[in-house]
């Protein structure tokens, strides 16, 4: 086969079916938006019951994490994600799904290295870089405060 990698990549692009952009973008918008507006509804309920705004939004996150973890356990979250794409990946529910699913999956490798060790295979990097960048930000703030 006397063709270069670049020529082959061109052939490959022609042969590969394209992603259905309209469908996936609509799915992401509707389901992602839906999860967020459910969160907003819950926030209103919590605030009405006398909670301060900050606590209410924190409890919203906790409620959504709970719902998502449960749906993951019931094997429903991945079926939603098939249509939602980023709509179920980007919200906090996607974070919870990424924590629960490897823990559940690798239960067969034991409680310590299976559940305990694999729990962070997907979200580990999120925590590592989230915290590190926030420390960097804190450092900058501190330096500006000092001068």
């Amino acid at each position: 086969m006397n063709l270069t990698n670049k020529e082959y990549e061109k052939l490959n692009k022609k042969s590969s079916k394209p992603t259905k952009h309209v469908g996936t973008l609509t799915g992401a918008f509707l389901i992602g938006g839906g999860i967020c507006s459910l969160g907003e509804l819950l926030a209103h309920v919590y605030i009405k019951s006398g909670m301060i705004i900050q606590d209410a939004y924190m409890l919203v996150s906790i409620t959504l994490i709970f719902i998502s973890s449960l749906l993951t356990g019931l094997k429903l979250y991945d079926s939603i994600a098939k249509y939602a794409g980023a709509g179920s990946l980007v919200p906090i529910t996607g974070f919870a799904n990424a924590v629960v699913s490897p823990a559940l999956e690798f239960k067969s490798e034991g409680y310590i290295m299976g559940i305990g060790g694999k729990m962070f295979t997907i979200v580990g990097p999120v925590i590592v870089y989230g915290i590190s960048v926030s420390v960097l930000y804190g450092l900058i703030l501190f330096i500006f405060q000092s001068i």
Binding site: G39, E40, A43, M58, S69, G73, A84, V90, F95, Y137
Partner: protein, 122 residues
């Protein structure tokens, strides 16, 4: 009526943030973990620059529920604790602010994986 209006705002802003995520999925070869890292780090930066706060005030859950909101939470936490505690606050702010979410995810992760069995995707 106000609830409906707030929910609509949350729907719209949250939906747009998810569309940005979907554009990453469709047009780049980024894996989900990389996309999540991008969102959280962007949240910290936007939070630090003071851009994300107005969005949270406008859209409520529409801005706090997506993972950029998690990054914003980290930035806000660091900001407040640096103001209160100085240099120590750099280290305690992020995790303190996100403690509830992380703890719940971890504990539920453990409980759910103890209760349920893995499925086969059919």
């Amino acid at each position: 009526m106000e609830i409906l209006y707030d929910c609509l705002k949350a729907f719209f802003v949250g939906g747009i943030i998810c569309i940005i995520g979907q554009l990453f999925i469709n047009y780049t070869k980024l894996t989900p973990a990389r996309i999540l890292v991008t969102f959280v780090v962007s949240g910290v930066i936007l939070g630090g620059l003071g851009i994300y706060k107005p969005l949270v005030e406008f859209a409520g859950a529409g801005a706090t529920v997506p993972l950029t909101g998690f990054g914003y939470l980290l930035a806000e936490g660091v900001k407040i604790s640096v103001e209160e505690k100085g240099i120590v606050g750099i280290l305690t702010g992020g995790l303190t602010a996100s403690a509830a979410g992380l703890t719940v995810s971890i504990v539920l992760g453990l409980i759910i994986s103890l209760i349920f069995k893995p499925g086969d995707k059919t």
